[in-house]
């Protein structure tokens, strides 16, 4: 989770992000950020996500759970 939070902070252009942060609360949460999450999931976790799946997450932790569930599957 720690590594994931660092990656998410970079994508969202923040110093740090927390698990319960709402994604829509970030000004930078847009299609570019979503594609960056798709690329990060592929490179760091070996998981393939669609933009639609990424955009369905409400919080940073939701996103982590989505990726973790795919990795376990």
């Amino acid at each position: 989770m720690d590594e994931f939070l660092v990656e998410m902070a970079e994508i969202l252009e923040e110093d740090a992000v927390g698990p319960s942060d709402e994604l829509d609360g970030f000004e930078s949460w847009d299609s570019l950020a979503a594609l960056s999450v798709v690329a990060m999931a592929d490179a760091q976790f070996g998981v393939r996500m669609s933009s639609q799946e990424v955009r369905s997450a409400e919080t940073v932790e939701d996103l982590y759970q989505l990726i973790s569930a795919k990795k376990a599957a």
């Binding site: 930078s28 570019l32 798709v38 393939r48 996500m49």
Partner: protein
Amino acid sequence: MRLSYSDKAVTGLLTVVPANERSFVDEMANFNFSPKRSLKLKEVMGYDRHRIVSGPVCSSDLAVAGIEHLFASGKLQREDIGALIVVTQSPDYLMPATSSVIQGRLGLHDDIFCIDINQGCAGFIIGLMQAFMLLDQPAIGKVVLVNVDVMSRKVSPRDRNSYPLIGDAASVTVIERRAGARPIEASLKMDGTRREALMIPAGGFRRPSDASTAEMVEDSEGNFRALDNLIMDGSAVFNFVMTEVPELIGDLLAQTGTQAEAVDAFLCHQPNRFMLQKLADKVGVSHDKMPSNIVEHFGNSSGVTIPLAAAFNLREQLLERPLQVCLAGFGVGLTWGAMLMELGPLEFCEMIDYEEDE
């Protein structure tokens, strides 16, 4: 499928790009995004400038200008052309074929095989495959392969997904028999179930263009486009490239007993710098062996990007000596193909601009 070709060679390469250059920064105001996020997009994807037609320039205009330049400079004789292959997704007309338009405009003789192929970003690979097959006929001495698109005319200027990267261009490639040439090894795959990842929904017979298909509609991301415009599912295309292309290239290298170090250059289709650098990492080759600088200079001109990557980055070397190259194209269809071949020494390798009439 695995495909092999013997005694064939590319002998010349010309690219044609519109002289009209646009910059990302100037066009940012068209997008429904903050300047800060647009600049972030520019930085991440590697956007800067792109070449697009400003007027109603058609595919045959760019192609005729290129081939006439070759005639005028003595690099190609019109009577030597036995086949003309045109690979495009932006034909002059639904009918007749753009290859027939070009043949007629150039006044080529009638002892010729003209054929259009509807392919996009894998179009250079597909075009070469068709050229090699035609050269199995002794009656055909020289094949001229034209890759051309003016897709900027079908992309909404208010679509941040596609407009910053689109480019218009043509390439003219001459392919001939060469006895004793090293075998050319290739691999090709297609998956029509994913055909909607890249498409222009309206304008064909399934959904003819009318007033409703021209209506601009805002999507959930703030992009405006009509059904007459190109639409791309960015994450689907990204996942497609990251999954299929490294495997395709890796398998072709393994099956031919080729070490990646023995390949001088990996000349891939150029979707954007972001994707190409991630692709190089996955294939396991250094970024300098896989050029990724075409979109920032010219834009993504679908099937023309591999010739542009070759001419822009390797011109001097290709005129001098043979290079071992691995080509890879991937896109609409979906279609993905790779080809290992010796390229060069070329008789010509040139880049010219297309000036539009005022």
